[in-house]
Symmetry: C2
Subunit: 203 residues, 2 copies
DNA sequence: CCTTGATGTGACCACCCAGTCACTTTCTAC
DNA sequence: GTAGAAAGTGACTGGGTGGTCACATCAAGG
């Protein structure tokens, strides 16, 4: 969505703009983020920004897509090994955590996006639906393989994993080195709760 | 936190102010909510508001406490019947849903509060900890009664119920009559997922 | 009737914001 | 070397915000 003018910019200038925008959209959600601060940080005039992007919204979407592209790359291959359904889930959540650790700014841009925001209600809903279908597909396969409980409501199951995943990743943002292993273990334990359930199992 | 002056106000004026403030804080989170709009809606001068409340923050906390007090009253007795742990949880979540339906504005004030907001980080953390201790206490009792799985990590279990509960209630805001039963059933199904787990059970 | 203290008021302050545009600078091609 | 196009600029517009304060109004007591 940026203009040709932006694409023709020298790399370092482009990067300065992107860096400033990422920092601001990581610090504040779309509505609270300040274009004025971004241009100040990037060291360009406000008018210039409007030659690179149509408006604040377009700049935001550009940055958001960058963040998502990076995350997608980072999560590549998580679903490839077709071992246990539950092992795959663990891999997915652990890897998401590591993404948050490696790209904390991109991570915050993404979580801010998910925090309900009227401006993007439509888009959020439809991308949620996409993820739901993916999850339910995997779950159905797991039921066929007799790994997963066939009596469970699939939409409810997605809902649970979705909300826990959201909160899980959102909750580990200090990201200091020494607690990383602790965090990963907590993720495992949370996923165990989801897999095994709270109710005592017979046998 | 309101001043004596506010308490001495005629009831209808007090109520008009409260109504306007509740509406605004239900529509927008603290930072986005506009005091200017509140006083306009309430039909008073801005200066008057500052004779009733020290500032926006105090007004907000007053309204927030009202909402919480109402919710507390509404949830009274949910934990009294000491039947099944899982039955109690269902009662709790179902009743929370009904509160959201009966007092949608108070409900939205509360959910906006939980949406992370730098201004109240401290308070949110400590009230979360309180709820965690309550939950874990109940869970320990359930383990003693041999209702709950003793192998599960208790903090992880709270984390799961907390995040799912948050998302659950936040998600049903259209609140049209004909889907209420459907919503309550979905809540039950979600709680079944949490109780039984996704993994196939033996036997 | 007048004084006095409590209450009510809205123009105003300082600050923020997204977006615009007349103008300047830089680059390119002839 | 210069004309014309492309790119860069920042003061400005119109809008918003929370909070203040000199003044107006009102109520009650002497």
């Amino acid at each position: 969505m940026p203009t040709e003018t932006f694409n023709n910019l020298p790399k370092d200038k482009q990067e300065a703009i992107i860096r400033a925008a990422v920092a601001e959209f990581a610090k504040s959600a779309y509505e609270q983020a300040s274009l004025t601060k971004i241009v100040a940080q990037a060291g360009i005039a406000k008018g210039s920004m409007y030659q690179y992007f149509e408006n604040k919204r377009e700049l935001y979407l550009y940055i958001l897509n960058m963040a998502y592209a990076e995350k997608k790359r980072f999560l590549q291959g998580v679903f490839d090994e077709d071992d246990d359904f539950f092992a795959t889930l663990k891999r997915y959540y652990r890897r998401s955590y590591l993404f948050a650790k490696e790209f904390p700014l991109y991570h915050r841009v993404i979580t801010h996006y998910w925090d309900y925001c009227a401006e993007f209600d439509q888009e959020i809903r439809s991308s949620r639906e996409l993820r739901a279908n993916e999850f339910i597909g995997m779950l159905e396969a797991a039921i066929e393989n007799r790994q997963a409980n066939p009596d469970i409501d699939k939409d409810a199951a997605f809902f649970v994993y979705h909300s826990v995943g959201k909160e899980l990743i959102e909750n580990f943002l200090e990201l200091s080195e020494d607690v990383q292993e602790q965090h990963l273990q907590f993720i495992d334990q949370v996923l165990d709760v989801l897999a095994l359930g709270l109710k005592k199992r017979k046998e």
